[in-house]
Each structure stands twice: as structure tokens, then as C-alpha cells.
């Protein structure tokens, strides 16, 4: 169980992603993307908290919400990218 940063193409896409995760029982919130990953997307990401990533991705793919990038999120910093 870890925290992850899900990078989206747009703010609205991030909001859809967050809603899908929360309604499936995950803890998630839209946040401003940390500076080190700002170039990867729209400037907004979804912080997924204490979750099993494969389960969360299963929810997102079933709703057609493919993430742009996913990073391990630790101590407020986006670390290693998860290969999707």
C-alpha cells in the first residue's frame, strides 16, 4: 500500500479520475502537480493515498480513464515512474 501521483492530460480529466477512484472506495484528491513533474501534464494530478495501484488502475481502465503517467509519491515528491 503506497501513495501515488496520477498525472492527467487536463484538470477536468484529473477530476473525473478522482471521482472514479473515490466512488470505488479509494482515497484520492486532485492536487497541483509537484514542480518536478509539472512538464508531464496539465499542472494537476490525482494523489492516490495508501492504495494498491493495480486495483486503482483496474477501476480507471474500466471507465476508459487511462492515466498519462503514474509516479510513486513519497514525502510530497514524485519519485520513480511506474511503468504502465
Amino acid at each position: 500500500m503506497s501513495d501515488y501521483l496520477i498525472i492527467s492530460r487536463s484538470l477536468t480529466y484529473a477530476q473525473r479520475t478522482e471521482r472514479a477512484l473515490v466512488s470505488a472506495g479509494f482515497r484520492a484528491a486532485v492536487i497541483r502537480t509537484p514542480e518536478e513533474r509539472l512538464r508531464e501534464g496539465c499542472g494537476y494530478s490525482v494523489k492516490l493515498m495508501r492504495a494498491r495501484l493495480s486495483d486503482a488502475l483496474g477501476v480507471l481502465y474500466s471507465k476508459g480513464l487511462a492515466p498519462k503517467h503514474v509516479f510513486v509519491f513519497d514525502g510530497g515528491r514524485a519519485g520513480e515512474e511506474v511503468r504502465l
Binding site: S10, T12, Q15, V30, C42, G43
Partner: protein, 365 residues
Amino acid sequence: MIYLDSAATTLKKPPEVINAAASAIFKLGSPGRGGHEYAMRAAECAYTCRERAARLFNVENPENVVFTMNATHALNIAISSLVERGDRVLISSWEHNAVLRPLIGKSAELLIAETAPFEGENCLNEYERLLKTHPKCAVLNHASNVTGSILPIYEIAELCSRYGVPLIVDASQSAGAMRVDMAALGAAFIAMPGHKGLYGPQGTGLLLCGVMPKPFLLGGSGSDSASGTMPAYLPDLAEAGTHNMPGIAGLSEGLDFVLRRGIEKIHTHESSLIRRAAEGLRGKGAKVWLSEAPERQTGVLSFVFDDEDPESTASRYNDSGFALRAGLHCAPLAHKSLGTFPRGTVRLSVSAFTTMREVEAFLKV
């Protein structure tokens, strides 16, 4: 003053609309512009509004709900996305200038389906005849702002689909008052104001997108900022510039009101009001345009007195404390179809907040 001009703007709003719009002025920043609390609150408010619109109009993806300034703005985006200069375009004989002027501006060849008001499905043959000539697209109002006459839009949408003609629906008079179902219509675009049947503030509108629009207004979107072109995705592609957050916050509450009250209840209420008004006006010798079938008319009623100019009638009612609108209602084509051009008619239009007591008071004048 008793307000009977809801087809222009619904003046009485749910208190939640007023509170949300007022507090947005000092509580909401701009969505997509920063990560601070004010910007994030605005982002949440805007997305909730999109979600509510998506629910009310059966749009699968809230990203396809675009905020506009009004229905005219939404129609301009839709028309400029599908119509090239000189294209042949099918319209009804009841269109508003919000449709006519953008099409005339494109030098479009207009194929006008000439039908009588309140015809219902009897008009389908005329639409099919014109669709067989393969126009570039069809731009049709769901309900006339002059007579309240409702087109059988779902049946026409089916014909459009059969002949491969993209459909743009002007839902200015039907959104919030009639069922408007994006999935069932399969429309390319549906345009609507936020300030009429959705009870939002003026300066708000929605464009529901079934296909990708072309960028219409260019500028900052808060996304892809390093690029010199608009983002390729919705809603950012169609929402350049700072959002009208007081308007959107109010519109969101207006949508919630309609969702809670229910379309059917609103339509039944409005229908009973205009039927009573029509009955009373006939008793005074007025000519009224009323459908025998309540399901074919919104809360809009046109009338004239033979011996009085419509402007004089409206002025007389205004002096007695009743706000009605006379003239052409920005719809000269509709009045030509009705045989009331160029003087027009007097229009009485109601909302979910108009009461039978107000209509009875109007009939005493």
C-alpha cells in the same frame, strides 16, 4: 410588478442560486489557474456544475460539457465547427437570430422546413424530404421562443442519423423545461442558455459536445501553456479565458434545482399556467396560439388583440404592473411563418416560480 417574460430570462431564481453566485465573487478563484485554495475551490465548483449538467442532459462524459457566455455563443461555436462558407443547412421555419445570423454570416444556403406550429409528428415528412437532399448539417430549435411549439426532435434526430446529417439542437427554450437527452438525440451539439430554464445567472450558457468543436475563441486555458495552439481536448479547447465563476456557481445550483424539482413537474406546472392564460385571453377577444396537446408546447404563449398593436398591448400591461415582451422576439422567420411579421405578437412566458395567482391577476387587466 409581476414578471411574465421567463422565455427571455427567468427572473425569480432559487435562493441557492443567488447565494452561490454572490459568495463566488469573494470565495472562488479561477479553475485551472493555480493550486491554491481559491483556485481549487473554483475547480471543484466548475466540475460539479459539469457533472450536474451531464446528469440532467444524459451526457456520458462531463468533459463534453462546455461553459459558454450564453446560447448564442454556444451556437456560434457549434455552427462554425460544422458549417463552411456556402454550405447547405437545414433549419426549421421557427429559428431565432442566434441560428439565422451565424448561418447568414457563413453565406449558408438555407433549406427551411416550412411547418405549422404544434404539428408534432405530422411535420416529419417535410424534414425527411429535405434531409434526402443531404445538407451539410441541420440546426433546429427544440422549442420556438415565439409560440412555445415543440419540434418532435427525437424523431427528427433519428431521420438525421438515417441520412448521415449531423444535428445541432438549439435547446434555449427547452433546457430545464422539457426532456433534453444528449445520448438519445445523438446530436453533434446541443446549445443552451444558463439563465432561462436552468435558473442560472445571465452570462452563462452550455454547449454539450457529441463531436469535437473547432477552436472558436483563442487564448489561455490554464493547460498546455507552452503551446501556441489551443489544447486538443475538451473542455479546454473551447474555454479560452477566465471563467465566469459567479455565473457557473449559480448555474450549478440552478441545475440542482431542476434535477430536484424534476422536468415533468416543471412542464406540467408551466403548461397549466399558459392554458389558463390562453383561456382567459380568448375570453377577452385575443387571438392566442395554443396547442391542443400540452406536450407540444412549453410555457410560452403568443397572443394579439386585433384592434391593438402588440407593443401597445405590452405597454398597457406594463403600466398595470405586468412584464411581457412584444415584437419579433429576435425571430423574424418565426413571425413570418406565423403570419405576424412585421408587427409580431405579445409573448407571455412563465417559469417554475410563476404562480396561478399571478396569472389570474394578469387576466383581471
